[in-house]
Assembly symmetry: C2
Homo-oligomer: 182 residues x 2
């Protein structure tokens, strides 16, 4: 549950970050930036600010913004219907992002696991993306990511997106949280 006034503040902060990164949005896109706070009530720590450019039944493209140190919680995209589950390519456009996927864990992750949700971060194979660098995450693979100290803007190119099917490691997460009027 998040208040409409808080959503507006986060949208404005994300719009400023997109602007600093040189990403041009239409006024309608800026006003409708999706605030994913995952129902956890601490969007500045665990959250994500998204613009979906296009999502067909084949391909999808989004722009993701993360505030400094903000984390998108661990999740995976399972098979849906007849298809393999969303596969996605993250390309860092601005700032930097630390991405964690299944595989050999690092002993000292550069990211700081959000204290409130520590048990729900379980994969620690680390990939650090600077602007111009990219990484492709296979279908149905657990992953989470956190912006560095400046924040990050990341282009996501993927197969079709069905956010409502995402499986989060943290059972308290609601991907589609309720917005309340003030």
């Amino acid at each position: 549950m998040i208040k409409r006034s808080e959503v507006r503040k986060l949208q404005q902060r994300a719009a400023d970050m997109y602007s600093r990164a040189g990403i041009v949005l239409t006024p309608a896109e800026s006003e409708n930036i999706e605030i994913a706070e995952f129902g956890l009530g601490h969007a500045h720590s665990e959250g994500l600010e998204l613009v979906t450019y296009i999502n067909t039944n084949i391909y999808c493209a989004k722009e993701l913004a993360l505030f400094p140190g903000q984390t998108c919680p661990e999740h995976r995209h399972p098979p849906v219907g007849g298809s393999a589950g969303k596969m996605e390519t993250f390309r860092c456009r601005w700032g930097n992002v630390r991405l964690y996927v299944e595989g050999d864990p690092v002993s000292k992750p550069k990211a700081k696991v959000p204290e409130e949700s520590r048990p729900y971060y379980t994969v620690f194979h680390e990939i650090e993306l600077q602007p111009g660098m990219q990484y492709t995450i296979p279908s149905n693979t657990k992953h989470w990511f956190q912006a560095g100290p400046e924040g990050a803007v990341v282009s996501e190119f993927s197969s079709s997106s069905t956010d409502e099917n995402d499986i989060f490691t943290n059972p308290n997460i609601e991907r589609m949280p309720e917005i309340t009027e003030d």
Copy 2:
């Protein structure tokens, strides 16, 4: 047929344009910008400078650069194997681009049809894209596009890309031209 030295010059010019547009490429990506001159021998008039970020059997993402007034010739993406043919979303990032697709023609197109290839431009439904604006072209639909006076950088999000299957209106076009050493 295009000389290696000419390819290098066009790559440098395109890299400068990507840089001005705030698009960060790795050194390897800059050195390998694809110069599509379509075998016509006048790349500054009809040509396209591309970076393919990812191309899987499901989705594809490219960054396209066009020099001022440069035109990507009319073509369509036909069905291939069992799939419907490439569907693509163009999002203007910088500069501006005039896109022409099948449909009601405009009487005075803003783009100037390349003189040498006039008979091979046959669709004139006009869409002008400024930064932040986008348009999705259905499968198997004829289209061509030309940059405005500053040039253009366009992100392309699409289903899987198989350039070798593209059908150009101009029968003289070779999508995969030969590069000769100087």
